[in-house]
């Protein structure tokens, strides 16, 4: 009784619905009492710590994994010398131990077979699985060319498989992290400043005086050092301006929250430019010295007054002026944050351009408290024979989008459907560390592509939904059980971090470097993998860098002094930007020449019809995409997502908090599972919101299966960015069903 009451309080306090979860109380650690605790203090001294960097998200914070005498991983603590985490991991990093302990992990290789007329996965040995993969890949290589084998990847395993693909002669590589996430901002900022934003973003938040977040919800996304620096900025009295239709955590920390009408951000930014220029608040000296196209921009925004923007954005003209003045007052220590997941409406590169232009007008690029000049260390590559030159690569597959900077996953998917791209047909997929069914919108197209493939291999640590489509599933061990490439961080100062296995791989799982080598050897390119253990690669690289494996084993992270010059612009020197003009391009001739708008314009996007609500989605601090939903520690903090509904909307439909509802989108797509309603004033009247990454189909995910809704399955309408191929996903509308539409009579 007491237990469930606590559980209830914890959950309702988090606003995650009212029904107590039925997690069995697992006593993983045996008996303990406070008397034992005194003993444990001594035990603690015998902990062994192993250097690693986190793989629960892409921030890759350096950390120490603590193992006890029994060889169990007990806790993971941030590395004090690391600029990604400053010794403090986020909940996911701290809970990374759950990734290792998860008893639902993939345990052996699996091969799809037909048994008694039914398709099923059969457990296999590594030799069986690897031989099958090599023979299938060889056939495809001989018939269609190695280029027809594509790699779709995310995170550390991707690097090793990229090497494998390049070794066999393919560069048909894509990752949802580009066209389904941050691609538009990389292209938009490169067009303006000549350089990607990159990761971690070179935002000088710790010294900023004004931080502007446009739909970016720092604090709910736990991009660790940014969260920490935002907290410092709050301490320093910085002004925070948040533009978001939802009252995000960041909005609650802001002096100015602009609850904008969804889809109208560019109008607001054009009006901000108008105010900065009309009121002479922009950085004239900076613009004169470093930028081109100011006159065209001035002319372009002259009619985009705050009054004009008011009718579009619902943000009052005086609030637009006030916030523009606040940004100017703090400039150049003002950051218009580029955001991260920025594929919203299909004009996302242009929205990123608007952000970049605002930063230019405020003189914040290359200034303290704005954006610093990042630097990283180039890693020496382990010697290997030259890669064969592919006849075509991701570039040709993505050619429809002239400014795509990386493989456009959706185009690789399209090229997998016969007749869609006959020149560059894709026949096999190697999928590593990315759960496509929760990353790629338009499930119908995705399934059509998978259906058309000759062969599909999925490498993961968990039986994620995407594994269900594979011909062969390979169990990768977790980051705590493997070596990986050196993390070379792009930051204020360059640094490297090492990942060393804290324990041996559990079950029959293997590291991705080993998998890549095994497939490579079987395909006759063993000379590309001239090492028995990846440790040899690390030893070679670290020696080349003037340090050693032994040193990194002791310190985990090594910071280096900058070599590329000062962190900020030296005002007395001429600085050449890496754009074609050598200047910041407010007006983009490159875009103009390609037939796109040289300066951002506002385009009206579709709005929900009566009875439908825009489907917005975002992050929760304790989860990374869909990959952590089953992690016992993190699932304990949040075991399902909820549908955020405004009380007025709830009253109209007659909803109660905790009630289960189903969703149907504008294309009649139904949610697979129900979701519990959370009635809250934190969301507006025309949109509903849910945390991304729930609603798992696979029953093998015992904690995550059937809990909540997968927002991605309701995104069937995609607005593609014509500049770089990003899939805009914020233009889908749902209606709320209180009866189970799947119930058969």
């Amino acid at each position: 009784m007491t237990t469930s009451r606590r559980k209830f309080i914890k959950i309702s306090a988090l606003g995650l619905g009212g029904v107590a979860a039925t997690t069995t109380a697992l006593n993983l650690f045996g008996a303990s009492s406070y008397l034992d605790e005194l003993v444990r203090k001594n035990v603690a001294e015998t902990f062994k710590r192993t250097a690693t960097y986190c793989e629960v998200c892409f921030w890759k914070c350096a950390a120490w994994a603590y193992t006890n005498e029994k060889g169990e991983i007990k806790k993971i603590i941030g590395n004090d010398d690391d600029s990604h985490c400053y010794g403090r991991l986020c909940p996911r990093g701290t809970g990374g131990v759950g990734m290792y302990n998860d008893e639902d992990r993939l345990k052996t290789p699996l091969i799809r077979k037909t048994v008694n007329g039914e398709e099923t996965f059969v457990e296999a040995t590594w030799d069986e699985a690897l031989d099958l993969i090599a023979s299938k890949f060889k056939t495809i290589k001989e018939t269609h060319g190695a280029e027809s084998i594509a790699l779709l990847k995310h995170g550390s395993p991707g690097k090793h498989l990229e090497h494998l693909l390049n070794a066999i002669g393919s560069d048909t590589i894509g990752e949802p992290a580009y066209a389904q996430c941050r691609g538009p901002r990389e292209t938009g900022f490169k067009l303006t400043f000549g350089t990607w934003v990159g990761s971690p973003e070179p935002t000088d938040i710790r010294d900023t005086k004004c931080l502007v977040l446009i739909g970016s919800h720092i604090g709910e996304n736990m991009h660790n050092s940014q969260v920490q620096e935002m907290s410092d900025a709050i301490d320093n009295g910085a002004t925070i301006i948040t533009v978001d239709p939802r009252f995000s955590t960041a909005a609650s920390k802001s002096q100015h929250w602009l609850p904008i009408k969804p889809g109208t951000d560019i109008a607001l930014m054009l009006a901000w430019m108008n105010v900065l220029i009309e009121e002479n608040l922009y950085d004239k000296e900076y613009i004169e010295k470093y930028a081109i196209g100011f006159d065209e921009l001035k002319d372009h925004v002259s009619t985009f007054t705050p009054e004009w923007a008011y009718s579009i954005t619902t943000i009052k003209p005086e609030e637009i002026r006030r916030t523009a003045r606040a940004m100017a007052y703090a400039s150049p220590a003002t950051i218009i944050h580029p955001g991260r997941h920025v594929v919203w409406y299909g004009d996302d590169t242009q929205r990123a351009r608007a952000m970049a232009i605002l930063n230019a007008l405020l003189g914040s690029w290359g200034r303290r408290g704005g954006f610093y000049f990042k630097e990283s260390l180039k890693l020496p590559s382990f010697p290997h024979p030259e890669y064969p030159k592919p006849k075509w690569t991701w570039k040709e597959v993505s050619a429809k989008y002239p400014l795509a900077e990386m493989g456009v996953t959706n185009e690789i998917i399209r090229a997998s459907i016969p007749g869609e791209n006959s020149e560059y047909p894709v026949k096999a997929w190697l999928v590593a560390g990315t759960n496509l069914t929760k990353a790629i919108p338009n499930k119908k197209l995705l399934e059509q592509a998978i259906e058309s493939l000759d062969f599909m291999v999925v490498i993961d640590t968990m039986p994620m939904d995407v594994t269900g489509y594979a011909d062969v599933v390979l169990p990768e061990c977790t980051y705590l059980e493997r070596y990986d490439e050196i993390r070379s961080a792009t930051n204020r100062e360059p640094s490297i971090a090492i990942r060393i296995p804290a324990v041996a791989p559990k079950y029959d799982s293997k590291p991705a470097w080993w998998i890549a080598k095994q497939i490579g050897e079987r395909m006759g390119v063993g000379d590309q993998f001239a090492y028995d253990d990846y440790k040899e690669v690390l030893e070679y690289q670290l020696k080349e860098l003037g340090t050693s494996f032994e040193e990194l084993e002791q310190i985990g992270v090594k910071n280096y002094p900058r070599k590329s010059g000062p962190l900020y612009l030296n005002e007395n020197e001429l600085y050449s930007f890496t754009t074609s003009s050598g200047k910041i391009e407010l007006y983009s001739q490159e875009l103009k020449d390609l037939g796109f708008d040289p300066m951002p314009i506002f385009t009206k996007h579709p709005e929900p019809e009566q009875g439908y609500y825009r489907l917005n989605y975002g992050r929760a601090p304790m989860h990374t995409f869909s990959r952590t939903a089953n992690n016992p520690n993190l699932n304990d903090l949040m075991d399902e997502n909820n549908l955020w509904v405004n009380p007025k909307v709830a009253r109209i439909i007659g909803l109660k908090t905790g009630q289960e509802v189903w969703l149907k989108n504008q294309d009649e797509v139904l949610s697979s599972f129900p979701i519990k309603v959370r009635i809250t004033e934190r969301t507006g009247f025309d949109a509903v919101y849910m945390v991304h990454g729930f609603g798992h189909q696979n029953k093998k995910l015992s904690r995550a299966n059937g809990r909540g809704i997968n927002d991605t399955e309701l995104i069937s309408k995609v607005a593609i960015d014509p500049i770089m191929g990003g899939t805009g996903m914020r233009g889908n509308f749902v209606t709320i069903l209180t009866e189970n539409p799947h119930k058969t009579i």
Partner: protein, 177 residues
């Protein structure tokens, strides 16, 4: 020596890192927690306020849990920290009912469990696990008897509150507001 915790609600983002860090540090079984996050929303859209904060045992001066414990398992040690001696606890649950903060729970091993301010770490000169891990650095810990300590200074200079002051427990977790 009087230990106290000060938590800045203006910085807390409610990420729950304090909860996981406590669980892994103190072997708290999954499904239970010694600290937790609360979220309070006031106002109506778009005039909304949000308060996020990390809660736990308040290590009260006049602790009802200690007063009602029939075996003396619940007791106060140096520095004002309220502890439970697991081996002396009969699991009667009186303390759980008496706590105005709902900070105690029945451990599956039969005794009552709760936050210890990471007593075992303090002896090593380390901060409680939750404080040491918090990514927003919104949690402070120290000695209220020392007027120059960070916690004393924060309480001197910043507006703050305690939870359920009407219960008369004289709690030692403070919230900056």
């Amino acid at each position: 020596m009087r230990y106290a915790m000060v938590i800045d609600t203006l910085k807390c983002v409610g990420c729950s890192d304090c909860v996981v860090a406590c669980q892994t540090e103190n072997n708290v079984p999954i499904g239970y927690c010694r600290d937790w996050i609360t979220e309070v929303v006031n106002g109506a859209y778009p005039n909304v306020e949000l308060e996020l904060k990390s809660e736990r045992c308040n290590h009260c001066d006049t602790a009802p849990c200690v007063r009602c414990c029939p075996t003396g398992a619940s007791h106060i040690v140096d520095g004002g920290i309220v502890l439970v001696t697991g081996n002396d606890c009969i699991g009667c649950g009186a303390c759980i009912e008496s706590c105005p903060y709902d900070a105690r729970f029945q451990h599956p091993d039969g005794y009552v469990d709760k936050c210890t301010f990471c007593h075992h770490r303090l002896k090593d000169g380390q901060l409680p696990a939750c404080v040491s891990v918090c990514p927003t650095k919104c949690m402070y810990f120290g000695d209220l008897d020392n007027p120059n300590s960070e916690v004393s200074q924060l309480l001197k200079n910043r507006k703050h509150k305690t939870l359920a002051p009407e219960a008369g427990t004289n709690p030692h977790v403070f919230y900056l507001i």
